[in-house]
Symmetry: C2
């Protein structure tokens, strides 16, 4: 038997080791309507002013504002209705002194007009209207280019598109956009004891959890789980799977076989094809994490225990996918402040990921460790609301400490 | 011209009006691997103990713990290696007094053994090992059922599945699960001035933004935008589109035509086919929001201006989709506390949705209103980091007030 990793390296060092080897994937052209959660390759520059013309922001009457100057309830101004502006066209009439034209929200202002009176502020008398207060120029008018000016950079490269971003890209005149191709990810779970959900659970076997959880995480981070396999602890089978994975995908993720047992040969398999960057990380859970590079493609050996595999994925594979997508890596988990119910032990020099439940008492949030025995206990992740990271500098956290809890799920915890 | 809504009703009243008419959609059976972001219909009950057998949590030697009692460095105990446990099988050997068997993490404990000695804590001498400290029973052993017990409710009905939930469902013996069918949503943008992205921008026309932004929001809330149309301000065309939408989908969302202008006839169209629950809401932006019910299906008339449409969607359509999905409605936007840079005016009796940018100064977050002119200004949503809701009871918020900001995007704002 091997006897432990030579040296566990710090989390940040391990992250840097892999990220420094990566560059964003190539781009592809898509329709902006398909752009949700895609990452743009270039700055997006407005092709048009938005709006493209002076628009009415109200239903009412287009007027020359100077005609209303001095108007009051006791001394109203009367304007002649000379036309009606249809939405979606450029009006062919001109507003001269003493004129007004019916106009709808969104319609283009006719020549001569520089303000719109709200219909509620007028009285109509057949072919004329009564104006009872002065209107300044531009009142109730959206000026051409006031939202976006042609040539403005509306979104920066590397931006992940949200619904409103898709809106402004369309508004400013684009239909096709260039986005980074989604990373394809191999998920290879290893272990002769694993069986598929739905198979008969024979003695000594367990259901393969990691294949599904890691695939779900890949999808959640806007990437494609495109090669998913389960392989026995067999050198030839592992090598074969690795070769296919390297051929077909951008990122390879093994789970299991990354530790120091006799059957833990992922390190040797990686070394046979490329280089090993990381072999053991000073973290808990997740210490038996391997990271290598083969043909410029990152290869991860995650622990076999489901919780450690998911946490190690979040720490190393997530920023890898974000980097391949051209983004600055960031952790999207919402954070809330909470007070510790009890102390959390840890060791200096190691980063701990403590699973906690949140409870609300007297309008204050408290975090409570979900009791565990071993990192294989997947129920801790399900029972927990989030994670507290205990940094390498700390020798545990004390009861009453105010801590940041990173929430797993997006469920709404109303802030105190 | 019509002259304003009769009465604007409060936001919460409008939400209740529609939610009280709804019940969850029917279910469908899927493979648990496809379960990410689906909502389960029933409580999920474990079919097996997890683990199904006492498992080693370490690489080392399975022993009878009592054999180690009294062992020390100066007075070690010697045990005979009588076998080796293969992972994925039920061991056929029995550990008797004085015996030890090689065992790997995850392998089943042999009969007689009740503890595992870490390989690091032993010295091997050919066919025997030296034990230098006492091991309590269960040390380095995962006991059958310690993670999940057969019959335990592992997840409650109405739960939205996250990656770890998929893991525990598989671990506890399920492959097929029953989930609520995804709501199909019609997105019908109205307005004779609208053109498709990619079309030539003729004078007076604007690009149809709402169709794409609202479709993206539907996808974001785990539903399917399955009938998307653009219709001119024409009664017959609108009625035709509505009829098809009712036939084919579960929720119908119009944008534009919901206000009180001459062409704003969505209210009449809804009344022709069903009932109108809400006609105008005391909120800004988003006041001209209509909600109706036709054949038990909710129909929304959202404002035409892109920002108001998105905010009104979030306030009314999001909880509708969540209710149809069998979930308790909740707002998934992460919240951070920030101080107001300047006061925000509003009116008592109206709920305001102020778009703000977050800036960090001296380790503190400040929120700053994104300056706007009119709710059509989509760039405000793109420039903003989130929204502050100013409740109906407040007459604005003051400079320096500590407020909850609901973040649009998941970008990471490290908490102070």
């Amino acid at each position: 038997m091997k006897k432990g990793f030579k040296k566990l390296i710090p989390v940040s060092e391990a992250i840097n080791a892999v990220l420094s080897e990566l560059k964003p994937l190539k781009s592809e052209i898509i329709h902006v309507k398909e752009g949700l959660n895609r990452v743009i390759v270039n700055d997006i520059v407005a092709r048009y002013d938005v709006p493209m013309f002076d628009r009415s922001a109200m239903d009412g009457y287009a007027i020359r504002s100077e005609d209303s100057f001095g108007a009051s309830v006791t001394d109203p101004v009367y304007l002649k209705i000379t036309g009606r502006i249809e939405i979606g066209t450029i009006p062919d009439i001109e507003i001269k002194t003493g004129d007004a034209a019916q106009i709808m929200t969104g319609a283009a202002l006719p020549k001569g007009a520089d303000a719109v009176i709200k219909v509620e502020d007028t009285r109509e008398h057949g072919h004329s209207i009564e104006v009872i207060k002065p209107y300044p120029p531009r009142k109730n008018v959206s000026i051409r280019g006031e939202d976006v000016r042609r040539g403005d950079v509306i979104l920066k490269q590397g931006h992940l598109l949200h619904p409103q971003d898709i809106g402004i890209i369309i508004a400013s005149g684009h239909d096709q956009i260039s986005v980074i191709r989604k990373p394809k990810v191999s998920i290879i779970s290893t272990g002769s004891e694993l069986i598929d959900p739905g198979e008969i659970l024979e003695p000594g076997k367990i259901f393969d959890v990691n294949n599904a959880t890691l695939s779900s995480l890949v999808s959640q981070f806007h990437s494609i789980p495109s090669f998913t396999r389960r392989v026995k602890d067999d050198r030839d089978e592992l090598l074969q799977a690795l070769e296919k994975a390297i051929e077909q995908t951008d990122v390879i993720v093994f789970s299991g076989g990354s530790s120091v047992g006799e059957y833990d040969i992922i390190d040797e398999i990686i070394l046979q094809k490329g280089k090993l960057l990381v072999q053991g990380v000073a973290m808990r859970p997740g210490a038996p994490t391997l990271i290598g590079i083969i043909n410029n493609k990152p290869v991860f050996g995650l622990p076999g225990s489901p919780v450690a595999a998911m946490i190690s994925f979040d720490v190393f594979v997530r920023p890898t996918l974000q980097t391949l997508l051209g983004m600055t890596p960031y952790d999207p988990k919402p954070i809330i402040k909470a007070k510790l119910k009890r102390s959390i032990p840890s060791e200096v020099g190691r980063r701990d990921f403590a699973r906690v439940r949140i409870v609300k008492e007297n309008n204050e949030f408290f975090a409570e460790l979900v009791r565990v025995r071993g990192s294989g206990i997947i129920s801790t992740l399900v029972k927990a609301d989030g994670i507290i990271e205990v940094s390498e500098e700390r020798e545990g956290l004390s009861k009453g400490d105010s801590v940041d809890v990173k929430l797993f799920s997006q469920h709404y915890f109303p802030s105190s």
